[in-house]
Amino acid sequence: MALRAAVLRHIRVPVQTLGLKSNPRAPSGSIRLMSSHDDHLSKEEVADRVLSVVKSFPKVDPSRVTPEVHFQKDLGLDSLDSVEIVMALEEEFKLEIPDKEADKIDSCNLAIEYIHNHPLAS
């Protein structure tokens, strides 16, 4: 018994907190709802940036740009201008939008929707 006490007095075991180190990506406190990646853009941010790209297009009157506007019906642009706007959005969000999709994007709303749903938009 005396021996055991003597031994125990001299043993120092490094204290280790279990669990925290093993999974650094575990949610701590906050709940991530069905998010497959952490840095996904919020819809508000996408909308703001889409609108500012459209507003800065030379032929567009910035005061007329809202999320609802249709490029050709409301902003007086033609199909070549639409191509240029979608290309500018590609650069803004570092995406490459295939022709088939790009042809369909004819309004701010559709652009916001497409980019917000795109997993690689940044």
Partner: protein, 92 residues
């Protein structure tokens, strides 16, 4: 040919033209900034000029322009090509 207005559905030929326009703008991205701007302005002027001057029903001529454009685009996509120049032979 008339760049389409008002969001009517695009014909197959219009889609081909827009796709080619996209191709040229993409090719321009791979060049130096100075050349890129210059390519964009030449290409945009050419597409706009044709969209106003060419009758949208002149399919044979549009096919010819698409064919010619494709060859120019292939050339522009070559890394050896740094820029574009245009020569106005009609003098208008």
């Amino acid at each position: 040919m008339g760049a389409s207005k008002g969001g009517t559905r695009l014909s197959g030929m219009q889609k081909q033209v827009l796709s080619m326009y996209r191709g040229f703008l993409r090719a321009a991205r791979s060049k130096s900034l100075e050349h890129r701007r210059q390519i964009e302005s030449v290409v945009s002027a050419e597409f706009r000029r044709n969209s106003k001057q060419v009758d949208r029903k002149n399919f044979i001529y549009i096919e010819y322009l698409l064919h010619r454009g494709k060859k120019q685009l292939d050339q522009l996509n070559s890394p050896d090509t740094v820029g574009l120049s245009s020569l106005n032979v009609e003098g208008n």
